[in-house]
Symmetry: C2
Subunit: 438 residues, 2 copies
Amino acid sequence: MKKIGIGLLGLGTVGQGVANIISNPNDRHPLVGELEIVGVAVRNLQKKRDIPLPDSIFTTNAFEIVENPNIQIVVEVMGGIEPAKSLIIQAIRAGKSVVTANKAVIARHGEEIANEAKAAGVYVLIEAAVGGGIPIIEPLKQSLGGNQITKVSGIINGTTNYILSRMDKEGVHYADVLREAQELGYAESDPAADVEGSDAADKIAILSGLAFGGAINRANIPTTGINLLEAIDVNYARKLGYGIKLLAISEKGKNITQAEISQPLSIWVEPTLVPEDNPLAGVNGVNNAILVEGNPIGQVMFFGPGAGSGPTASAVVADILNIAGFQSMSSEISLNLDPLLSAKSWRICHIAEEKEITKKNYIRLITEDTPGVIGQIGTIFGQKKISIESIVQFDASDSEAEIVVITHKIKQGQLEEALLDIKNLPEVKRIAATMGCL
Amino acid sequence: MKKIGIGLLGLGTVGQGVANIISNPNDRHPLVGELEIVGVAVRNLQKKRDIPLPDSIFTTNAFEIVENPNIQIVVEVMGGIEPAKSLIIQAIRAGKSVVTANKAVIARHGEEIANEAKAAGVYVLIEAAVGGGIPIIEPLKQSLGGNQITKVSGIINGTTNYILSRMDKEGVHYADVLREAQELGYAESDPAADVEGSDAADKIAILSGLAFGGAINRANIPTTGINLLEAIDVNYARKLGYGIKLLAISEKGKNITQAEISQPLSIWVEPTLVPEDNPLAGVNGVNNAILVEGNPIGQVMFFGPGAGSGPTASAVVADILNIAGFQSMSSEISLNLDPLLSAKSWRICHIAEEKEITKKNYIRLITEDTPGVIGQIGTIFGQKKISIESIVQFDASDSEAEIVVITHKIKQGQLEEALLDIKNLPEVKRIAATMGCL
């Protein structure tokens, strides 16, 4: 049997992980042995690489890979928006299926790419784009298709989870942990995409599109990172029985009638208090975990390494194997696409306004240390019909008090109004922090 | 488009769950709307069922279902070995793909059934046989195929996990919890298959076959249930920082050369001490969790409801959708089977002898309360080259002492020899318990 030709765009850590798997098929699924890397595009031919591939298949011209007639599957592991996006589209138009780990491209241009793939009759598979090695894209597409999905949530950025785990365990400050994480290679030298939440927003956009069957306008996802998180909030959260995790959450609006054609979703990324007995509370370090809730399955969780060369390569190869499997199903005719893996949209989704998001909240206020201030705050929440789970006054320096409020589930619009009034109380100096709470 | 005909063998809780999904496709993957239940075999036509299916499609003759030309996919959810197994084979020979939740049949006759399916060119999918609604079979077949799997382990029996969770939390005795679990419907009136470990052995046999690519002789799996577990061991384990879980474990032998054709596996089912910081320690109640370890993925965990009508039906429908998806890929020619989902064996596996199993152990001894007994026990372990993690003497009544030993990883053959010698010490009254330890 003729081997299936693979072309790699990029040979960084993930690309090398993929090459290592394909070059060493022993002890893996036999289909791995049917794959052959026949072209690799890199920026620098001279760079020394410890990889068992012949020099002759390397090129600096990525377009040679996407046009190579001996390549059936193009693997894009170069990252960045361009030229990655153009190469993906060119590969599709050349009739090749594409496997990519590029969450930024898929979150922003997924719909355009899906339309191109549909027109060309090829697959674009993206298991590696979310959750590193954790199988989550394929279960959403295939194993959970019988469910009415109601919510997808989780910890989907390993860098911030590493930082938060250390802040929680050691009581250290954000800036200090970030610096160490950068030294250890767990955080990029420009950490913005991770710590400001944009990477998590990319990923929850992708998961939402699959879970709810419609393209997501990623630009509309309210996103707060951990870059402004203070150690004192981690400390107070712990005293109240919570850990803090950067969660990405996507859930179906309530009271949706069947006539509703456009599915409204609440999607947001935010540091969130997680009760100690929640399955997400035990997810530490660079691990990721994704919870999927639906009817009738209830709740399932997928847990594992959210990044890294090996795990991400495992996900890339899973996608390659799926496409290779389809190719071996018929050698003579071109098949229709599998309706599960091709993951076409089947309805319109739109993101609800931020003020419609309904959740519990953690609020920390700096106030004067005078009697009656808790009563005044409580009264304002009451006027806005916000039910409160707890108000706790923590010790503070000098004449200041720190008051932490945890609300029940309320609309964010309600909270905004209440916080405006609270800010105007003469005893309230400032609203020091607001976060979500499970 | 003509709908895809589904035939149900059995309409118990899982069958009804499946019927509910298919009858209510709204808000699920659109492919659910292409399915139609056209035949249902039940034992009693008169039984009142709250299910939206017309009377005309019911029959008491299951063979009518497997021979019905309007049925493309037969769903076996009747349970038990016979007639389930014969019906599955007859359906296959009639050219129909089969979806089954029947772990007992697959664990015992999986190889025969797989050979029949291969000959007939149909699928037999079994997502619901292990882990209820948790996607685990499909990830093992598809998403993890690029890995060299080294270990599959987990909590795969919900009934015993419910019992153990309550024993641990409330300090109550096994027999009392079992009685309550039976009253609540969490345990069968004949609980043997669950509490003696046979159900977990069925499931780890299935998972091992998929993870390691070869048929497993299920009869050779050493199996210990929780039916002899004493509350005092739960108590001591907790004091030492462990919970007790009924684990099923399957791991590759060490030092396997590439020339080895027959893959030796250590597989066993046993109550096992799990350290409090292990991801499995937080899996409580009727939940299941399966850990898969491999190269290069590292470790991933799948967590969720291990049983129940809804979750199991979700898994059954996932399999139906996969087959339906393939059928929609080509209406004109019959395709080869997808090499991932058809899950053919690709090597020989054999189960290593019990004495070759290498693991940590928990041993509880009843001894006389005399000085020097810990020294004598330690000496014997030393003579057998067994390295010990801890020996702790717990208080006991009268002149008796209870001594708990936790070993490092050793071969079970070594342990047996040591325990023979220890039993012969005049100060040792009996070996009260032995368990595994992570």
